[in-house]
Subunit: 215 residues, 2 copies
DNA sequence: TTTTCATCTATTGTCGACAGTAGACAATGT
DNA sequence: ACATTGTCTACTGTCGACAATAGATGAAAA
């Protein structure tokens, strides 16, 4: 499906630039510069910047400009914790809707993640990881919760794409996610919620630690 | 502190208009109309509309316009549930930071809420309720979580200001909130989380029910 | 009458220009 | 040397005009 307005395309463009690492944290994203680069006026660019600001990827200071967020170790940890709380709850109430087939698909996704990690296929790995977790949180049907979770997802990509190779071994990635699927299979909401919270808190702590060490 | 840009003032203006009931759900908010009313150009107005859209108060359809959200019964319930999940978690981890003085203040706020409810001081009641709950969720220091919770808070005001007189008796308001404070005093995270989730789920269900009955 | 299609209108999308501000830098006075 | 002040510049903030679109209206054809 084709995008209709410039705003969306610009937002996507900026997001990709960030993911690719072409923009550094704390760096100002100048409207005029983008305007010249993309050959469009500043109006749609401003809207795109606003959008990304409200997602939490960019930071806006009135009369000064828009900057790529520079997340502190605490910010990172908090983002992951919050993600765990939301997704944990979502999964804990929506597991009855998951069929046996869904469960099997989740299991095979775990294996595939390991495979992709071994082949260093970062982009595909992140994409698959997203799909896995999206299954967990989107089935609950709570739009509000889904919206927030997706915002956090975008945010965590900023860091994950940078740090991921140092976080887990391919086999660990597999096991960590299988642990979640097993929790879901158990059918115990408390267990599901706890397991998913741990999943995220663990990663959050790891990344925060790396950040503190200035990696 | 004085606001610096038009955008913020416009956003506030629109929000107040909505709260006051001068704009009805599903109604289009026209840029041109606001532009003429406020005697400013459309640029800052668009930005304000974008902002409120990202909060979830307004709904935007490309090339058509921006409309006041018309929440379904499910939307309402989901918003309250999500709020409960976030605030419940926040309070469950931040209770150690609350002093004896804080607890006492919370108790007296419960009494004051009852008083305001009896006097039909809706605006002050809502404001105090906000302050009460803000204490619970903001101390945790998790900016991400606080941001989301505040977004939900704005959203729920839309409905609360409309439905609140039919929800609880003054005495019930008092008791419901005291129940939360007691849970906090217990120092049991699980209890705190459960109690706050119930608090919101209960209200969400009530409002959703009223909505379904077409009140 | 009903359907189709062109036209019209109201509203949003985009533009280029100008105004206003924050921060850098130079000039001045002590 | 140092603080203060003034200027200059590179941005963002705001503006008014125009382009493009969706939906309404009305005319033409069956």
């Amino acid at each position: 499906m084709k995008k209709i307005t410039y705003k969306d395309r610009v937002a996507e463009f900026i997001y990709k630039e960030i993911i690719k690492g072409n923009i550094k944290p704390k760096e100002q994203i100048k409207e005029t510069h983008l305007s010249e680069t993309l050959n469009i006026s500043r109006a749609p660019i401003r809207e795109a910047l606003n959008e990304l600001t409200s997602v939490g990827i960019l930071e806006y200071r009135p009369h000064i400009g828009t900057f790529l967020t520079d997340l502190t170790a605490d910010d990172i940890l908090n983002a992951y914790i919050t993600r765990g709380v939301l997704e944990g709850f979502a999964a804990s109430i929506s597991f009855p809707k998951l069929t046996k087939g869904d469960i099997n698909r989740l299991y095979s996704m775990c294996d595939k993640m390991e495979m992709l990690a071994e082949k260093n296929e970062n982009v595909k790995l992140i994409y698959l990881g997203d799909k896995f977790h999206e299954k967990l949180f989107s089935i609950c049907g709570n739009k509000e919760l889904v919206k927030f979770t997706k915002m956090l997802s975008m945010k965590s990509h900023l860091m994950f794409s940078k740090y991921w190779p140092k976080l887990y071994l391919p086999k660990q990635i597999n096991e960590r996610h299988k642990k979640i699927v097993k929790a879901i299979e158990s059918g115990n909401p408390k267990t599901i919620e706890r397991e998913i919270r741990n999943h995220y808190t663990e990663t959050g702590k790891k990344i925060a630690k790396l950040k503190k060490e200035g990696v």
